[in-house]
Amino acid sequence: MASTRRIVVLGGLGTAGALVVGYALWPSHRLDGANALAAKPGERFINNWIKIASDDTVTVVVPHCDMGTGIYTALPQMAAEELDADWTKVKVEAAPPDSLFANGPLGEGFILLSQGMTRDSLPAFLRGTADNSFRTVAGFMNLQVTGGSSAVRATGIFGMRIAGASAREMLVKAAAARWHVDTESCTTKSNRVLHAPSGRSLGYGELVADAVSYTPSSNPTLKLRSQYTLVGKSIARVDIPKKVNGTTTYGVDVKLPGMAYAAIRIAPVFGSKLASVDSSTVASRRGVLKVVRLDDAVVVVADRFWRARDAVAALNPVFHAGADGTVNSSQLKARRVAALAGADLKKDKTIGNGADALTGARVIEATYTVPYLAHATMEPMNATAVFRDGRLEVWSGTQDGLGARAFIAKTAKLPIENVTFHLLPMGGGFGRRLPGFFNFLEHAVRTAMAMPGTPVKLIYTREQDMQHDYYRPNVMNRMRSALDAKGMPAVWISDYTTDSGANSEAHIAYGIANQSYRIAQVATHVPVGPWRSVEASWHGFFVESFVDELAHAAKLDPLAYRRALLANSPRHLATLNLAAEKAGWGSPVPTGKGRGIAVFESFGTVVAHVADVTVGTDGALKVDRIVSAVDAGMSVNPDGLKAQIEGAIIYGLAAALNGEITIEKGAVAQANFPDYEMIRLATCPQIEVYLHESDAPVGGAGEPGVPPTAPAVANAIFAATGVRVRDLPIKNHNLTVASR
């Protein structure tokens, strides 16, 4: 690629952009530290995330962990593209959890840049890391977060591309100096710098030693999208071969010499404490090494996991439940109802005349609710730790290796230098393993510290995992509107409960002149956390269900109704139209079947789904098909993006149909999959995903497919039956003919 065909990095990055780019690349003296930490013989770092070996191999060091979303392929694709690397000579590694390899600055800069936010108004997925106590240990700038659908949008766009392009510039400078020619006369291809006029060429491996002496540019010229040869291609994922033969080592698979296993029973009522436990009843069981009393749990350490598990189940611990030990779901619902009915609603945002516009004959009101949800990753939470000579070494899969290391240091009251953390692939993340939600690390660390010298692998059983999650919040939303003479909404009023302040995802894309958003803070003892698509997981359902209600009230076609309201939102409109066209919207739907549509933007990506359902006279629901259209701007790896949308639809569908965590006597009532049913092959609809490429900034992939799923299905159920689902999950509704 000749440099004359390149463009200069976006001129409009501004101050925040400078911050981003400035942090993206190290001063050259920091390469020594990186080489010592993560370079193998023959390799050298040329900048933060790229190593070049003497055989010209390029290794991209990814400052994220693998939770299955394909970023170990997509991010290196972006770096390799700018570096003009031959993909067959590109290797991928995980960055060590060291502050040298933090991705936080990228994430922060990205957020500040794209959202106009301040550090104190971070989205939920970063909030756990940004509290003051945490910052004193790790510092906000020391994140290695994988979440918020941010890997490609932040690390890829602001890190990987710059790293690739900058490294390329340094290699070209080194070659030009060696040949005494202009850099302008040099080109790059397949891990080599070429000088066409003289026919000479040098491999990157031959140049890297010279190249590192040049100052890395934070403002290198980047390729135009039309020049991409790797980005935009459905390159096969690099992690998949090891995932089909059982050789990927997840956290739960760690093996250490002399390792013991631990099983835990955590106080069932959140926030309650262990009062007493008689450990003598299990002391003589085979393999039992120790009964460890933690503040909020009892742990049995044994030589094998099943022995620890059976022993801990045989104990009769007494827990102090406290006042929260009588709380149940109906009381929590009453709190939300009261909060929304009360006078303490706090204004979030008003457009036009706000709620004052709620006048006229055609006022429509509906209250929606979504339940608590568990993440239920396939790999239950676990961590392995050994405390030896005042040092802790810990192995686990988390969505932030550096944050995990800092959390461990804080938990153990050790200097961070005395903590080594090994970040392992995760059997699912979905937000469960983000910083701020590290109960499994705390339990493993405290257990290991009670057994100095012995490596201990602590595994939550499925029951403990389900009952000690940080749940998608239970949220209630009172929606109101008034239709004008043409049946279009004159006002949009959204009053909703919240565990954690106002939700930007509540704000609609629809062009409605008067809008009002207010929040009702509700405090409970149930821990909540980010769950795939976070706020959008509930507001997508509220917004897209209520707008559907308005369309039906106006006796207008739900697609046409949305189109009319999205006249000034071209991305939404194009995505909606693509989904409708591919699904055959408007074609006849037989009796007993229904078709529903929904469109929602989250994490910078617009997704529209059309759901087709069949509802039997006995009320049995089958989701037959979901057709999806996606505008993520440019797709780095189209097949990878499609896979994420497919997965998000199924994740959202499991929640919509069956997902519900309820509270009884202060504790979670569900324990394992029979109580918390998933989608399986038999219940998985046909799914079609269509990509709409646009010039919009690159959007997220992992989460945006979730929010429109529940409303598309609920809207299809309404079309089939006339039953409006306003409370999830759908399983709680009677869809029989008699109920219609």
């Binding site: 394909g70 096969a236 997840y250 094998r304 996991f305 396939m378 499925r462 029951e463 097949d639 997965g647």
Partner: protein
Amino acid sequence: MSVQLKINGKMYDLDVEPDAPLLWVIRDEVGLTGTKFGCGIAQCGACTVHVNGNAQRSCATPVSSVVGADITTIEAIGENGLSPVQQAWIDHQVPQCGYCQSGMIMAVSALLKTNPHPSEDDLAAAVTNICRCGTYPRIRNAVRALANEKV
């Protein structure tokens, strides 16, 4: 107490209780960690292995019940490199996090042995494993391709 198990063609003399779960014996005694723990109650299928060629959920299988049986795990499903099912999983880019895929591959491999051309309903009835990443559409595609190949 000694239990003899034949796993991937190799005999193991194991000092475990007769009711020890096969899953944990495979993982922690034998040291083969490709077979995964998901639920512990034979609901999710992450722990699926072959017992005499049939798919069985090892987390709820006491070792005493499989003495003398041929037990096969994901590590040995591809006798010479990758099995056709494993190759199809790569061709169709099935796995995401990958955690459930050992069990999926074992369940599908067992099905294809007795029913080389399964319909979508056959597949859904035989393979009830859970995948939280939502790889089912790609599993269907991969199995469809395998079924057609063998026609």
